[in-house]
Amino acid sequence: MAGKTLYDKLWDQHVVQTRDDGTALIYIDRQLLHEVTSPQAFEGLRLAGRKPWRLDANLATPDHNVPTTKTERDVGIEGIIDPVSKIQVKTLDDNCDEFGIVEFKMQDKRQGIVHVVGPEQGATLPGMTVVCGDSHTATHGAFAALAHGVGTSEVEHVMATQCLIQRKMKNLLIRVDGELGEGITGKDVVLHVIGVIGTAGGNGCAMEFGGSAIRSMSMEGRMTMCNMAIEAGARVGMVAFDELTAEYVKGRAYAPKGDHWELALEAWSDLVSDEDAEFDKIVEIKAEDIAPQVTWGTSPEMVTTIDGFVPKLEDAKDDVERSGFERAYDYMGLEAGQAITDIELDRVFIGSCTNSRIEDLRAAAAVAKGNKVADSLKQALVVPGSGLVKEQAEKEGLHTIFTEAGFEWREPGCSMCLAMNADKLGSGEHCASTSNRNFEGRQGYGGRTHLVSPAMAAAAAIAGHFVDVRQFELVK
């Protein structure tokens, strides 16, 4: 019999019951909650007179709607200007208080984007099933966990039963072998992967990232990759357990301690795909082929390299893609054949659950150091992923580097990633963004998003247009 994939193992370990219709009841070890997708779930519990099954499996923090300016934040909830945002944040607080769920409230320094907070606290552990009412829950798979985004009725289902009704997915392996070039990050790798397999490439699959390039990648880089598995069509992204995983988890607030740590380590060591495991599909990528990536269009698969060009209509593989290109040229205000380095920028956003961890900020600061944001830019924002990331960055003096260079240093939250708070693009503005979605209107009505790595975003901020971070010193 063939061996098991990491996904097979995680699945098998969590099946409570299989049902005749091919679905299974899967046990959920951790549910993360935020203010946007939880209110109706709490309301549902209340209406049905139900209690959460296991309080300690839940952890909440507001992120999507919280303001990121210090003046607003210092006032607390009453300082949130937008009334809808204020109600959502307040409702999360009230619900967590009422039901007894641990919440890192807006003024707690542990508050942040759920997908940054979970791993940072050790609340995301190897071997767990993790859910959250948010599609980027795939991020947590970087810890050899099985992590899904779920809908609001499922949030309620998990709260009430600690289980989720699921159908098993297919196994897809993305193997990246070789050595990544200087300046190439997890963001470039995952954008390259999406460019290769397309935004539907992972549909119906649990996607494991493997190969030597992933093994030598930091946990932050792995999280960035798993985060964007959803942009490649997969609800689940995963990386096998190794020493690096253990090192990252060790000593964190929610991580096992003492005897439990030893027991856990032993169990976790099996969280890898067996040598003889069978995947439904394998995609092989050479690490050496990957250059810094920039998206030019309105879907993450509309991506090219920094030395590339906006593709021409004749480059489209079929009619559907051709009409997609036409619509994207129009929306993005770009011309076929235009060089990526010629795209002038209006704003730069460094943040989001994809790239707002300490490593990301260090990479951006290394580029920003001693430089100045181009005068042509209206704004360059740096939004740390959590209060703890912010604190660490300040300890290292990164905030001074940013502010001296002309970046704004903000309070943690989702911010301009989805423009639910005041941080938005104006219509027609081009933005170099370290987030994950470049859909029409994602960062503000009419806004034009280009997805890049943190170092590339910082370099673009200084140049005022895209530049190859590998030649940044020369270009400057």
Binding site: Y27, E43, T161, Y254, L263, A264
Partner: protein
């Protein structure tokens, strides 16, 4: 979800086809953080003469006297009678939430949009399909008789009139079971609570660190 009980109810007739979910609950109410409280805004645009706003007080708003639910004879209605393709349009679950919150327990129509039909069962609302001719007869009877009531007996799958006549209807047996027992997806899963507990106990043993309490 509440269990479906057999009780007699006043029938409110809405003599239109293709009543869509936007009509049932207009989009501005989707901003709400709740799933209850939509009753006062059910059919908002038809029911009131001004534009409704979420979280506003509806008590002082001018009512449209011609709208069926505003007529004295239909107050307290729990059965909604309508024409074909009821619940078409957007997939919002707010539509059954609003009907249920208003007090409807049953909708009778010749046909429904799929998503609405599914969402209704999940929320304790019974959508009954009857053929055009029968629905037509019901419309005539309701209009002719003030205080017209029907008793929906889900157990026996019949709709009983006050005069003793009865109409049979079809319903999927699994859905019927869920409605009669007040089982939504969560209710169903909780029927397996013992398996979940057994699994949890095993897991606590094999992976005790997952149950460590953090303060």
């Amino acid at each position: 979800m509440k269990a479906f009980e057999k009780k007699s109810g006043i029938v409110a007739p809405m003599d239109r086809a293709n009543i869509d979910t936007d009509m049932i609950i207009p989009k501005q109410f989707l901003k709400s953080i709740k799933r209850s409280g939509f009753g006062p805004n059910l059919f908002d645009e038809l029911r009131y003469l001004d534009e409704g706003q979420p979280d506003a007080d509806n008590s002082g708003r001018p009512l449209n006297p011609d709208f069926v639910l505003n007529q004295v004879r239909y107050q307290g209605a729990s059965v909604l009678l309508a024409r074909e393709n009821f619940g078409c349009g957007s997939s919002r679950e707010h539509a059954p939430w609003a009907l249920e919150d208003f007090g409807f327990q049953v909708v009778i129509a010749p046909s429904y949009a799929d998503i609405f039909f599914n969402n209704s069962f999940k929320n304790g609302l019974l959508p009954i399909v009857l053929d055009d001719a029968t629905v037509d007869t019901l419309f005539k009877e309701v209009e002719a008789n003030e205080g017209y009531e029907l008793t929906v007996d889900l157990e026996n799958q019949t709709i009983n009139k006050a005069n003793g006549e009865s109409i049979a209807f079809e319903v999927d047996s699994f859905r019927k079971h869920c409605l009669l027992n007040g089982l939504d997806d969560i209710g169903l899963t909780l029927q397996d609570a013992d398996s979940i507990k057994a699994y949890e106990a095993k897991r606590r043993e094999s992976s005790p660190w997952l149950f460590d309490q953090v303060k």
